[in-house]
Symmetry: C2
Amino acid sequence: MCESNVYLQDGEKEVLIMESVDSIQPCENGVNLMDILGRQMFVPARIKAMTLLNHRIIIEKIS
Amino acid sequence: MCESNVYLQDGEKEVLIMESVDSIQPCENGVNLMDILGRQMFVPARIKAMTLLNHRIIIEKIS
């Protein structure tokens, strides 16, 4: 399965906020995440970087 | 392998612009893409939507 884990960058740390994310949709004020079970989460953040082979998506708060 | 294909939305169409993308890094004026072979491409576009299980990343031109 090719879902990714989403981490919120908080200073030096990266905090896992959602696992097994399938769908990511940026919108004006943040990103909408949905995992493989259909659970949804909105985070007021933007995508910073992704490495899909590592299943990692890093987002950072919109300042 | 969990790489994705990147499509540029052009009106109603979605044009495949890079296959087997591993890394995506948004920056101020666009996105930097890198595929699994290390080939890089810069596109003046923003991420519109991703569905990782379908290996699809849609980007749209920055207007």
